[in-house]
């Protein structure tokens, strides 16, 4: 059975569904997402994790509620005198009524069980049709177009393969979408996020059984620290 079929079984597997992930997003990242300060790459990572993690959905909802309370507590600013009159005039424009404004959402042709919809919008393909580019040592990637300081990509690591040992100048967030990997910090499977900063020097190894597909978001280039890795640094733009 292919990875996609396996995931379908989980998704359709009755009321229980997949268990929630074990590795979550740090609070300061959820806060940046709630406040709107997170850039597009980090926001994409958060939205994808929230799709797969009911626990972080609750945590994120609590931070939205914090934002609501903080705004409720702000001293009100004076609006221009005709603000409401202008708004009323706009309510009469065509398209202001719900039926006209919100056409029913069409099912996405690319729906598949590996990539949550918010991510499909950036990949533009279902998991089996991703236009992979080789990155070296058997690892493939595809860059996702995001604005802001972060870089976002999908990574595919062949089952059982190790990624060269590396550290990061900034933060790296890796979210597992298919398969899994292990490093000194634990075992990560679908829905789990590993957050690493410049203090983390790790060598992730993909699980056996199926290729590991991850969404990786970095806010600075990573540095390969192993001998092979150091040689790779010169030409791999990862």
């Amino acid at each position: 059975m292919s990875a996609i079929e396996k995931n379908k079984t989980t998704v359709d597997g009755g009321a229980c569904g997949a268990p929630p992930p074990n590795h979550h997003l740090p609070d300061e990242v959820l806060l940046d997402y709630a406040s709107g300060a997170a850039d597009e790459g980090v926001s994409l990572l958060v939205a994808t994790h929230l799709t797969l993690c009911p626990i972080c959905r609750d945590r994120a909802a609590e931070l939205d509620a914090l934002g609501g309370e903080l705004v409720e507590n702000l001293p009100p600013a004076d609006l221009s005198d005709d603000a409401f009159a202008k708004l009323l005039a706009r309510l009469d424009e065509p398209g202001s009524e719900p039926a006209a404004a919100e056409p029913a959402r069409k099912e996405q042709a690319t729906d598949d069980a590996t990539l949550p919809r918010v991510l499909q919008r950036y990949v533009g393909a279902a998991a089996q049709d991703i236009p992979w580019q080789p990155l070296g040592l058997g690892v493939d990637h595809v860059d996702l177009s995001v604005e802001g300081g972060s870089r976002a990509m999908l990574l595919r690591v062949p089952e059982g393969r190790a990624v060269p040992q590396h550290t990061h100048e900034g933060n790296e967030y890796v979210l597992v979408l298919q398969g899994g990997f292990s490093d000194a910090h634990g075992h990560f499977v679908r829905g789990d996020v590993e957050a690493s900063d410049d203090s983390v020097d790790h060598r992730p190894v993909a699980d056996g059984g199926e290729d590991c597909i991850c969404l990786a978001v970095t806010d600075a280039p990573l540095k390969l620290t192993s001998l092979v890795g150091r040689a790779l640094n010169r030409f791999a733009k990862l």
């Binding site: 609070d27 300061e28 709107g36 009911p54 509620a65 903080l70 409720e72 001293p75 202001s96 949550p116």
Partner: protein, 194 residues
């Protein structure tokens, strides 16, 4: 209800806000919409100006946010969020959509990949209104330095890395202080709701 009747009433709270939302959704009531506008529009403008909009764009964003409120009133779910929270998220998203090519990435609630809540978590869901109340009390009870970090994040649109730049604190320190502040807030909220 006339203007003077409205003025004679005590300051309306979250319960009234939810009633107005329902009137907008079900009856397309312009009166209820006017009350929502009177309460929230000046606060949304204050929020937008603090997070970097000039006066004119703040007014325009408030107009657009309130148009969304009118159009999508039916999608407001009082079991998911308070009206204040819903309004905040609409204004926040409008602000982001104004400067980005793409809309803010958000999960699709209809996504077949959405992992559902495990049953035990569904059981101990607390009311939105109690949570909002508990959060308000928690903000008031937080040590000033921690409350200030949360306000900096929400009002001034500062990512934790920018807070580090602005305050001159090392990034790791900002992260741990934010985690502490949020952890403390969550703890206070949980105590309040228990």
């Amino acid at each position: 209800m006339s203007e003077s009747e409205a003025a004679a009433r005590p300051e309306p709270g979250p319960a009234e806000h939810a009633v107005w939302m329902r009137a907008v959704a079900e009856e397309r009531s312009r009166g209820a919409f006017a009350r929502l506008f009177a309460h929230f529009a000046p606060r949304l403008k204050a929020y937008l100006m603090r997070s970097g909009s000039d006066e004119q764009s703040a007014e325009e964003l408030v107009q657009e946010a309130m148009m969304i409120v009118w159009r999508r009133a039916e999608s407001f779910d009082p079991k998911q969020a308070s009206v204040a929270t819903w309004m905040f998220t609409i204004a926040r998203n409008k602000r982001i959509d104004g400067y980005r090519r793409n809309n803010r990435p958000e999960l699709d609630p209809e996504d077949p990949a959405l992992t559902p809540q495990p049953e035990p978590m569904q059981d101990d869901q607390v009311g939105v209104r109690q949570t909002a109340e508990a959060i308000r009390e928690a903000i008031a009870a937080l040590p000033e330095e921690q409350a200030e970090m949360l306000r900096l994040a929400f009002y001034e649109d500062k990512a934790h890395s920018e807070i580090a730049d602005q305050t001159g604190l090392p990034l790791g320190t900002v992260k741990s202080r934010l985690r502490l502040a949020i952890g403390k807030m969550r703890g206070l909220v949980d105590d309040e709701l228990r």
